[in-house]
């Protein structure tokens, strides 16, 4: 299968179940909402060492947010409920509570409850106030610029982490161009994030290492400088590989992001130095979700 002259390998991305939540961060204006959201989703590229994977889902207009101010929707993914709870507390406590004019709300109506303001309220040292409208409880925590408003709980849902595809290109620049096109297109897909810097990862990893203490190490088969040294997966004309990792609230959302992303990445075509698209997997034995590239591209939306 080829797209714009770019070979689509008959491969699949292998993804894993995760736990996720959506938070809505608002502020007096778009700039400060974004400051808080960027900080809260920082250092959250991979669960391997960050505790969670997080990213900005989209910006929200004032009319869409609970308090009628500009906001940002962020998604956080973790491998367990306990870890997700911990990450929410740390990230909202250190990055949203601290950001001027910010407020934080649950972005999900359904799912298992996780504490949000329920624990962070104690920062108020007894001066925090509770307000309950209908079924939603909020906490008002006095801070130096007024009050930090935070919803009592957020909701957790089962999600999928580790969707991916790899862009094989003639040069680093060509791979970068295609990646940027892909990520720009994928950011319009709801319910997904691309947690790595700019949505792109250059250090794809394999499980394990020759060093016993490392859980993961460089994906040597896709390193162009190791061609001929290892059992390389790259042909002679591949000069650089970049990967886009996708976490989504549903498998369908990841499929759609994969489809949109690959199509965008292939736009420069063979003439633009894009040689092939493939995906990372572990032989299909570890993760229950398999995103088959050719099926996804052929059918629009599909997974497993």
């Amino acid at each position: 299968m080829k797209l714009n002259g770019v070979f689509i390998e008959d491969s699949f991305a292998e993804a894993f179940p995760m736990k996720a939540t959506r938070l809505i961060v608002t502020a007096a204006n778009r700039t400060w909402a974004m400051h808080a959201a960027v900080a809260a989703t920082g250092f959250a590229t991979s669960v391997i060492a960050c505790g969670c994977e997080a990213g900005i889902e989209r910006e929200m207009k004032a009319a869409e947010t609970p308090d009628g101010r500009p906001g940002v929707s962020i998604l956080l993914f973790a491998t367990s409920t306990k870890e997700l709870t911990r990450q929410i507390q740390n990230r909202v406590g250190q990055c949203v509570l601290t950001s001027p004019t910010s407020a934080c709300f649950s972005g999900m109506a359904e799912g298992d409850p996780l504490p949000l303001g329920k624990t962070l309220r104690f920062f108020g040292d007894g001066y925090q106030l509770s307000k309950k409208f209908g079924k939603n409880r909020y906490w008002r925590v006095p801070v130096m610029d007024g009050e930090f408003l935070i919803e009592d709980i957020t909701r957790m849902t089962k999600a999928v982490g580790g969707g991916n595809f790899l862009i094989l290109a003639e040069s680093q620049q060509a791979a970068l161009n295609a990646s940027e096109l892909a990520v720009t297109a994928m950011r319009k897909v709801p319910e997904v994030i691309m947690p790595f810097p700019g949505g792109v990862v250059r250090s794809g990893s394999k499980v394990g290492s020759k060093y016993k203490t490392l859980p993961a190490s460089t994906n040597d088969r896709y390193c162009p400088t190791l061609k001929g040294v290892v059992d390389s997966a790259l042909s002679a004309d591949v000069g650089a590989v970049l990967e886009i990792v996708i976490d989504g609230l549903t498998a369908d959302a990841i499929s759609e992001a994969t489809r949109v992303g690959i199509r965008a990445a292939c736009k420069p075509g063979r003439a633009g130095g894009i040689l092939a698209i493939t995906a990372g997997n572990y032989g299909g034995n570890l993760g229950p979700y398999h995103f088959k590239l050719r099926e996804i591209l052929a059918s629009g939306r599909r997974s497993r």
């Binding site: 308090d67 407020a103 509770s130 307000k131 309950k132 409208f133 939603n136 909020y138 009050e147 408003l149």
Partner: protein, 271 residues
């Protein structure tokens, strides 16, 4: 839907706690007519007091006529819609848990007292102790909403524990007295001693001339994030009342009652 039209009511206050849409909706016409109006031993039957029309199985109960002598209409209501076309007596919607109760006329005392959920709408005026504690109870309403388009009597939201009360008109004395939590909004002129003895909770007063008692300390003028949330919630219940909350975009915040824990607040719309 069941329609009950007043035929003849006993003289004096009469318990009508069995006038509940979900319960009566399960009865056939003859059983409905025999069903006691209230929970007292000598309670008249519904058929004695009302002419009955029943159509469909929707849990909607419509009461037509003046029922101001009936106490406890919709008491402990757990589902359905109850509409009183005229006046209703004391304890209407007391201890209500869910559903919607709409009174087109006026009501007596203790409307929604001890309620835990649901929605009460009153087109007219109400008596005293709205959303307050039932006799013998420690705290007042613990959930739900009461929206009053007219005047509310003394001690609205007395010992209120949770929930929302909005009074479009004026209130009598001691509104929000001894409040434990919850939200009371007064869009008209409040009486004396607002929030006296309140421990927590919020009282919103639109009257810019209002001055709280000595137990309250002015904490400045603020634009509070909780107001848009309240407005959004109220918009789902009554958009016109919600629009009136725009007056609270900036508020003078008074913390109190300092004679108690002082964690309550009176929010006066700022000029």
């Amino acid at each position: 839907m069941i329609t009950l039209k007043v035929k003849q009511l006993p003289s004096g206050l009469t318990d009508a706690g069995n006038l509940q849409p979900a319960t009566l909706g399960t009865l056939d016409a003859s059983a409905l007519a025999r069903h006691p109006l209230g929970n007292t031993p000598c309670s008249p039957s519904i058929g004695d007091c009302f002419s009955i029309k029943s159509r469909g199985a929707d849990p909607i109960l419509l009461i037509e006529g003046d029922t101001h002598t009936l106490t406890g209409i919709g008491r402990g209501m757990q589902a359905g819609v109850l509409v009183v076309e005229g006046d209703a007596g004391p304890e209407t919607g007391a201890a209500m848990r869910a559903g919607e109760l709409s009174i087109k006329g006026n009501t007596g005392d203790l409307l929604g007292a001890g309620m835990r959920g649901g929605l009460i709408r009153v087109q007219g005026n109400t008596g005293n102790w709205i959303g307050a504690a039932l006799p013998g109870a420690v705290s007042g309403m613990r959930g739900g909403s009461i929206l009053i388009q007219g005047y509310a009597g003394d001690r609205v939201a007395d010992r209120m524990r949770r929930g929302l009360i909005v009074v479009k008109g004026d209130t009598g004395a001691a509104a929000g007295a001894q409040m434990l939590a919850g939200t009371l909004v007064v869009l008209g002129k409040p009486g004396a001693a607002i929030g006296s003895g309140m421990r927590r909770g919020s009282i919103l007063i639109r009257d810019a001339q209002f001055a709280p008692g000595a137990g309250f300390v002015h904490t400045g003028v603020h634009a509070l994030g909780i107001i848009p949330l309240l407005r959004g919630y109220l918009a789902g219940l009554d958009p016109r009342l919600a629009r009136a909350l725009r007056a609270f975009t900036r508020v003078d915040r008074f913390a109190g009652d300092r004679g108690c824990s002082g964690l309550g607040e009176v929010l006066r719309a700022a000029l």
